[in-house]
């Protein structure tokens, strides 16, 4: 049985990876970690596993590598598409994948690394077509409601909460509540990070814009009621 630890501060990404791995009979996710500290605990607890961790844990890579070696854990990092794999491979991380990785390549990487062999996704492929296998963006898009998508669209277009409330015909507090839900679903902490996430995941930006356009069209052309 191939044991996997998922370590990423973005819940949505952990969920995406878990979904891909869950269908494999010989793969089992034994732990999920949101912070470096949780990851450290999981490494010590689940010896002999493969840990997939986010590059946001980069400042702690040396600690992770040291502890992983002591615990017989192999490491796979999820790097950003602009990053070279060399910095990770030279630090002792065996596998390097990018957030655009597709299911087949993710599994290939995990299996190879579990055998103690290095694996690096071609970074040119990661940068060439980030939309084609953007399952993170797709998964976020699928989890957000039409109203949440519209709010995301308005945020990246520069609207303020008060203006969004006016456009949606609701109060500023309600918009704030929606935003809090959106932050939780995506795993971001503020509107700037939300905007950056959306711009980075074009598939989400397009869905949000389409949702906003549809809602605006519906407001411009309200359905006419029939006399009862």
């Amino acid at each position: 049985m191939l044991k996997i630890i998922l370590a990423d501060n973005q819940a949505i990404f952990r969920a995406g990876i878990a979904k891909v791995l869950a269908v494999e009979d010989d793969v089992r996710i034994v732990a999920q970690a949101q912070t470096v500290e949780q990851a450290m605990v999981s490494i010590e607890k689940f010896r002999g596993s493969v840990m997939i961790f986010a590059s946001s844990f980069l400042p702690e890579t040396a600690r992770l590598v040291t502890l992983a070696r002591e615990s017989g854990i192999q490491l796979v990092v999820i790097a950003e598409s602009s990053e070279s794999p060399d910095r990770y491979l030279s630090a002792g991380v065996l596998g390097v994948i990018y957030r655009s990785v597709d299911s087949a390549e993710l599994l290939r990487c995990v299996r190879r690394v579990s055998e103690g062999l290095a694996y690096s996704q071609d970074s040119r492929n990661a940068a060439q077509n980030p939309d084609s296998d953007d399952f993170v963006g797709a998964r976020v898009r699928d989890r957000l409601t039409p109203k949440e998508l519209k709010i995301v669209a308005l945020i990246v277009q520069g609207y303020k909460n008060k203006e969004i409330a006016g456009l949606l015909g609701t109060t500023e507090q309600v918009v704030k509540n929606y935003l809090r839900n959106v932050y939780d679903k995506i795993g971001v902490s503020d509107r700037l990070e939300l905007a950056l996430f959306t711009i980075h995941h074009r598939i989400l930006a397009e869905a949000a814009a389409a949702s906003a356009a549809a809602m605006q069209q519906a407001q411009a052309n309200p359905p006419t009621g029939t006399a009862g």
Partner: protein, 110 residues
């Protein structure tokens, strides 16, 4: 060099320009996080100097009809010379920001 950043950096490449007294041509972003930005510009900046700049968010990148802008106040942390491409990488912390819609004046702080 040790990396102390904890926020997620997005490799988002957007045009930017300096505001205020900075006599530096427009550049572009190399990556951005909620706390900082790495810029490619043509010219250096003094470390620890306060800067004001605007990052453009083109309409096509967000599927919108109009561009948006991110108006930022920040501080220079580091400058890296990229002699191969004749440019300078500038690492900045974002101390304050606000989104500005196309055609909109100064907005309210977020």
């Amino acid at each position: 060099m040790e990396d102390f950043r904890t926020g997620r950096r997005f490799p988002v490449h957007l045009p930017m320009k300096f505001l205020g007294n900075q006599n530096i041509p427009p550049g572009s972003t190399a990556n951005i996080s909620a706390a900082g930005v790495y810029l490619w510009v043509d010219g250096g900046l003094p470390v620890d100097s306060a800067i004001e700049f605007e990052i453009e968010i083109p309409a096509e990148s967000i599927g919108a009809e109009h561009d948006a802008k991110l108006h930022c106040h920040g501080r220079v942390l580091r400058c890296d010379s990229d002699q191969e491409h004749g440019r300078t990488g500038v690492a900045c912390v974002i101390e304050k920001y606000e989104f500005v819609r196309a055609g909109e004046g100064e907005g309210q702080p977020c």
